[in-house]
């Protein structure tokens, strides 16, 4: 059997979280992982460590402490200003080999996946990607990752016995964000940086980032599937009336009707709104995982047999183009009354 660069005996009882930041702000998924990591660490009596990489980012450490980190390992260097997989893998590898954590968790964002995939091979360990739940078995010190697969409703529990660190990635929204405790403090450990500019082969030629949308925390979600034929105007109008936002299944995203960051599901985001309204969505399991944390699910589909109805509280067999305009009309009249 292939061995990882360090084994169970050398591994420290610590859970590490890759703290992904953009422009000095921590990504939501990193906060979610900190909170989940805190729960697991408390339960097993382990420590929780955030790995923070960037340029002039030391101030973010306080935010990580307030969300549960005991320690922040800080790699601060001008060469780490924007993410490049070469530089970030090198620095992360150095940090990991120095501190030898037992568990290392990352958000399944584009950068998180790039880093995870390279790092796992470099340290010769396993990687459980896109987990839908995590548990630390405190007796055995083993991370049990849940991964949902085909066929709907089947979850595989995956673990590794002999390899360290135990690596896993988790999609944004899978875990709820915690409550920050501003009074919590922690310790910063500075990582010595041994990077040379010419070892970074990736050149960032152009980079434009927007604010981005965060659908994981919206109170109401209106989802358009293939059945709405690209008419997201209709969806937006309804979302506006109920103080929510618009999401989509994968086909309209692939067809270019709407931005990819609004894709809900296994390869999109997992949302936990009070209400989600699925319009013209068939209910593929890949999609359903993205809305099953909703308090209430409403679905509208012309096909009475659509699988989505199995995952729905209020099922409407009908045409989106009739039901939604009627609903927006009904809701607008309420508004007028209220403002009356």
């Amino acid at each position: 059997m292939v061995a990882s660069l360090y084994g169970v005996k050398q591994a420290k009882k610590a859970i590490w979280i890759f703290l992904e930041q953009e422009g000095g702000k921590l990504e939501g998924v990193s906060l979610e992982l900190l909170d989940k990591g805190r729960q697991m660490a408390d339960n097993a009596n382990w420590s929780l460590v955030g790995l923070l990489i960037g340029k002039d980012v030391s101030e973010i450490a306080d935010e990580a402490f307030s969300y549960g980190a005991d320690v922040v390992v800080l790699a601060d260097d001008p060469l780490l200003d924007v993410f490049t997989v070469d530089a970030y893998t090198q620095v992360t590898y150095d940090a990991i080999m120095e501190h030898k954590p037992s568990v290392f968790l990352l958000g399944a964002t584009p950068n998180g996946r790039d880093l995870a995939g390279r790092l796992a091979v470099r340290v010769r360990t396993g990687l459980n990607a896109d987990c839908t739940n995590l548990n630390l078995d405190k007796k055995r010190g083993i991370l049990v990752s849940e991964v949902t697969g085909f066929g709907g409703g089947i979850a595989a529990l995956i673990e590794m016995q002999n390899h360290r660190p135990q690596m896993a990635t988790v999609r944004p929204g899978v875990f709820p964000p915690g409550e920050p405790d501003k009074k919590r403090k922690g310790k910063v450990i500075k990582l010595p940086i041994k990077l040379e500019a010419d070892t970074i082969k990736t050149k960032v030629v152009e980079r434009v980032v927007g604010e981005g949308v965060d659908l994981t925390q919206v109170p109401a979600l209106v989802v358009g599937g293939r059945g709405i034929e690209g008419d997201f105007g209709l969806m937006r109008e309804l979302a506006g009336l109920i103080g929510g936002d618009v999401g989509a299944t994968r086909p309209p995203v692939d067809d270019g009707y709407i931005e990819r960051e609004r894709q809900i599901g296994q390869t999109g985001v997992v949302c936990r709104p009070k209400v989600s309204i699925n319009c013209g969505v068939s209910g593929a399991f890949h999609f359903v995982v993205g809305v099953q944390e909703s308090d209430i699910v409403i679905s509208i589909n012309t096909d009475q047999e659509a699988p989505i109805f199995d995952f729905t509280d209020y099922c409407i067999v009908g045409d989106v183009f009739e039901i939604i305009p009627a609903l927006t009309a009904a809701l607008s009249s309420v508004k007028e009354l209220a403002h009356g």
């Binding site: 996946r113 390279r118 396993g126 529990l157 099922c315």
Partner: protein, 265 residues
């Protein structure tokens, strides 16, 4: 770059809609499912073909899997690739990402002289795009993942890939050799060219390598090279839903929904 050598990693996957779950054993029944080429890999193939059309060079298909994948892989030849390398051995079976990327990397080394590897964004049977970066790491190649556009600078021997990120995009440049993964739906994969179908089925267009043909360490392949194990299969936690059907005219339904929404929000 007439001698540009590209590899497209094609995976064969069971059709997702044909996989059943045995409710008694909680096991996945794949045996009845028909196979297909992983749909995202068609986008990878298309991108490689567009480079070949512009700059020349050749395209090799690389697959790890059982021999019965052959006819599907030949479709790739009929689309315009030049040769198939199939890595096939009982001992390759049961591989997780670490063992899969190791074996594919050994295949690339044996093919020799590879400049640019195209992968799909992810495989549809549950894996998650971790093969491309892992493959790049074993080979010490550069990488750009999830690109929807590529430009090759033949003299500089660099590529530029454009990828969508957070309400924006970035363009990254890396020197060859490199691995790229191609974003789903970033192009329209072509159909196979029936005029070259017979050519595509000629025997000599395909090479099958077993573990003895590759310079592999037995500890690194298949089950023994895979750190992760499935310890249990369970019913995924799903919430019980009311499944109440609302009926009436659109207006009546709208009124019912209004009440539900007002209560909930």
């Amino acid at each position: 770059m007439a001698n540009l050598h590209m590899v497209v990693c094609l995976k064969v996957v069971p059709k997702p809609e044909e996989i059943r779950v045995d409710k008694k054993t909680n096991r996945l029944e794949r045996t009845d499912a028909r196979s297909e080429l992983n749909p995202p890999d068609m986008n990878a193939m298309e991108m490689a073909l567009s480079i070949k059309e512009r700059y020349g060079g050749k395209i090799s298909i690389l697959t790890m899997g059982p021999p019965y994948f052959e006819p599907l892989l030949r479709v790739g030849l009929a689309m315009g690739a030049d040769h198939i390398y199939l890595l096939s051995d009982r001992d390759f079976g049961g591989a997780d990402t670490l063992a899969t990327t190791y074996t594919l990397a050994k295949g690339v080394e044996k093919i020799e002289g590879v400049d640019l590897i195209f992968c799909g964004e992810e495989s549809s049977d549950g894996a998650t795009g971790q093969v491309p970066p892992g493959l790049a790491e074993w080979l010490d190649f550069n990488q750009i993942t999830m690109i929807n556009n590529i430009e090759l600078a033949p003299r500089k021997k660099t590529i530029r890939g454009r990828r969508e990120i957070k309400a924006g995009h970035e363009i990254l440049e890396v020197p060859l050799p490199a691995v790229v993964s191609v974003a789903v739906a970033s192009n329209e994969p072509r159909f196979m060219d029936y005029r070259i179908k017979d050519w595509a089925f000629e025997e000599e267009r395909m090479t099958v390598w077993s573990k003895d043909d590759l310079d592999v360490d037995a500890e690194y392949i298949g089950v023994s090279g895979s750190p992760t194990i499935v310890s249990d299969l369970a019913q995924a936690a799903t919430r019980e839903r009311k499944r109440e059907f609302l009926t009436g005219t659109p207006e009546e339904i709208a009124d019912k929904l209004k009440v539900i929404l007002q209560d909930a929000l």
